[in-house]
């Protein structure tokens, strides 16, 4: 019950904070509307805010090391963001740039510091839901603020954005300063120090994945700028729908989430192709935006949930969470720079789209091997450490206790023993003198009989069985 209440509170606090960032600071419609209203130069302000945000996300983990300091820092920096947003009620001045840099930097701190609460207030297997919830709620709030900013007044939009920040700060103040519940089992010191490689791969993975989002901001969005009313509310709807779909997938399908990564890739390519083939009318916008933002929703929840899982392997969740999100911001920034570069050369819209599509295809080609590498690194991590620490009798005992959906063949038993010894498919194939594809098929059959979707889940089930017995 305590877990549930604090989880809801942490989701609400972060959703309001994130809604402020999405609607204003981070290429938000409120910021765009305000800049446009005064006829100021967009790029300087947008890039400054993103760069400052990137620096804030990345640096936060080096200063905040406890949950208590995370809570204090979040509340404090939200107040700083609030003050820094005030100059936008007035005509452009140097205070705009200073405000964006300060709010961007401290906004990054506030977001990264929430890593503590994601780890402490949400049980391990529920983190994908928490990530989906914060993304859904923050985007819903952002839509409401956008509609007001674009259809009523940018000042009212800015006021609402700041109100979100105030609500976020109050809710953050109510969050617990200490641990909510002890983790069921920790992986020991070894796991806490060995996540540099998975983090680096995740960083690369997220950065490359989100280059396309930056491109979208610079290439696709301006082409539909004339559909102001529709864009103000429909923009994030497919994104929210994709998040809701992924959030409510049955457990078995969620495990095979990398399959959805490929669906997302197909949708992004289709979005750029339809952008080139279709016109610039309402129905064309609906098609292109649905494909593009739907894919973004799939991608975002994919890497957010991996990031959520990685928090268990670290004693400093702020650094991991901040680094993961800064990779996302870096990707958007790279995409923005690429997009701005392409559009500024003076190519025709079709040529711009072809160049953008080429960039998209290149990034998408890099993704599958990166994803594979990341999954392999995560699989071989903490679960196998815990199994390694058991003696032979304990291992055999807990394997026998697990209920199987169908009996294993002798060959499958041999493969299972080697899986539990931490061997990779390639190593198993070398030990048993069979091909790697044969090992993969045996492994798939074993997973099916144990009703699990991965090595990590298989060993996790075994460990759970041990703690229950």
């Amino acid at each position: 019950m305590i877990y549930k209440n604090t989880r809801v509170l942490s989701v609400a606090a972060f959703s309001f904070l994130f809604a402020y960032l999405l609607s204003f600071l981070f290429e938000g419609q409120v910021l765009y509307s305000t800049i446009e209203a005064y006829g100021a130069q967009t790029h300087t302000y947008i890039f400054s805010a993103i760069l400052a945000h990137l620096a804030g996300l990345f640096s936060c983990g080096y200063f905040i090391r406890t949950q208590r300091s995370a809570k204090l820092a979040m509340t404090g920096v939200m107040a700083a963001c609030l003050v820094s947003s005030v100059p936008f009620f007035f005509a452009p001045s140097v205070l705009w740039l200073a405000g964006l840099i300060i709010a961007g930097f401290f906004g990054g701190w506030a977001v990264a510091a929430w890593g503590y609460f994601l780890k402490a207030c949400t049980p391990k297997n529920e983190r994908i839901k928490t990530c989906a919830d914060v993304l859904i709620f923050s985007n819903l709030i952002m839509i409401a603020v956008n509609v007001v900013a674009m259809n009523v007044s940018h000042d009212v939009g800015l006021t609402l954005s700041m109100l979100c920040l105030i609500i976020g700060a109050v809710l953050t103040w109510l969050l617990p300063a200490g641990p909510v519940q002890e983790p069921q089992y920790e992986s020991g010191g070894k796991s806490f120090t060995n996540i540099k490689k998975p983090m680096l791969v995740l960083f690369l993975f997220v950065a490359i994945l989100t280059i396309d989002s930056g491109l979208m901001y610079q290439v696709i969005n301006p082409a539909f700028g004339h559909l102001r009313g529709l864009v103000s509310w429909y923009w994030a709807v497919p994104y929210i729908a994709a998040l809701a779909f992924m959030r409510n997938l049955p457990i078995r399908n969620r495990i095979q989430r990398s399959l959805f990564l490929y669906v997302g890739m197909g949708m992004i390519i289709a979005a750029f192709i339809t952008f080139m083939l279709l016109g610039r009318g309402t129905s064309d916008y609906l098609v292109v935006n649905t494909l593009m933002l739907g894919a973004c929703g799939i991608f975002d929840l994919f890497w957010w949930s991996i990031l959520g899982e990685m928090l268990d392997y670290t004693s400093n969740p702020v650094r991991v969470f901040g680094a993961g999100l800064s990779a996302n911001v870096l990707g958007v920034l790279l995409g923005d720079v690429l997009g701005a570069g392409i559009t500024s050369v003076g190519f025709s819209e079709a040529e711009v789209a072809v160049i953008a599509l080429t960039v998209v295809c290149i990034t998408l080609v890099i993704l599958p091997p990166l994803n594979r590498q990341l999954v392999l690194l995560l699989k071989n991590h903490a679960y196998l450490d815990a199994y390694d620490r058991m003696d032979k009798e304990q291992r055999e005992e807990i394997i026998c206790q697990i209920k199987l959906k169908a009996s294993l063949t002798e060959r499958e038993k041999e493969v299972l023993q080697l899986i539990l010894a931490g061997k990779s498919n390639k190593e198993i194939s070398e030990v048993l003198f069979i091909t790697e594809s044969t090992v993969k098929t045996h492994v798939r059959n074993i997973f099916s009989k144990y009703d699990v979707g991965s090595r990590a889940e298989l060993i996790s089930d075994i460990l759970k069985n041990k703690s229950e017995s």
Binding site: I273, L277, E410, I434, T438, K449
Partner: protein, 172 residues
């Protein structure tokens, strides 16, 4: 590589070339801004791409079967429930994960507990019967094994049990 697998691979390669040509053509139409032709090309490309996916899966299944042989026989008879037997004269490979009958692939034990499974194996002096399928869709294949050595029959029985978990029924 076995000639049967080679034949499947060649078919896959032909379909891959057709798919690639279709994709290049689509890209060309997009660059040239010929929208109607591009849309038609995308639709037409879908068929070879689906076929390519199917053929790719068939090829990997055939390779998997060839990598894990239990028994190779010169001819076989296929019987489905309520259907007359059909004689095949091509070489047949019985493996842990299915049968490769000429260029035809019958899989079992590849897709976990919900996939097709080998249900029963019977052996006599001349023949081996393999029954496999899911629920009501059961297929029985009768093979002329041509093995005269009893020790070899026991060896195959043992290997079948070890690899597939099915205990073969041996009769004289």
């Amino acid at each position: 590589m076995k000639p049967e697998v080679e034949a499947i691979r060649k078919e896959r390669d032909v379909i891959a070339v057709i798919s690639m040509a279709g994709i290049i053509l689509t890209g060309l139409f997009i660059v040239l801004q010929i929208k109607e032709a591009a849309i038609v090309c995308i639709v037409v490309c879908a068929l070879p791409l689906i076929l390519l996916y199917r053929q790719g899966r068939l090829l990997s299944a055939a390779k998997l079967i060839c990598d894990n042989p239990i028994l190779t026989v010169p001819s076989s008879v296929i019987t489905a429930e309520n259907r007359a037997g059909e004689r095949m004269t091509e070489e047949t490979i019985v493996s842990t994960f299915g049968l490769l009958l000429g260029s035809k692939v019958y899989k079992w034990g590849c897709d976990g507990i919900s996939g097709t499974r080998l249900q029963r194996v019977r052996l006599d002096r001349n023949h081996i019967w393999l029954t496999f399928g899911v629920d009501n869709e059961v297929l029985c294949i009768k093979l002329l094994h041509g093995i005269t050595d009893k020790a070899r029959v026991m060896e195959i029985t043992q290997k079948l049990w070890r690899e597939t978990g099915v205990q073969a029924e041996v009769s004289d």
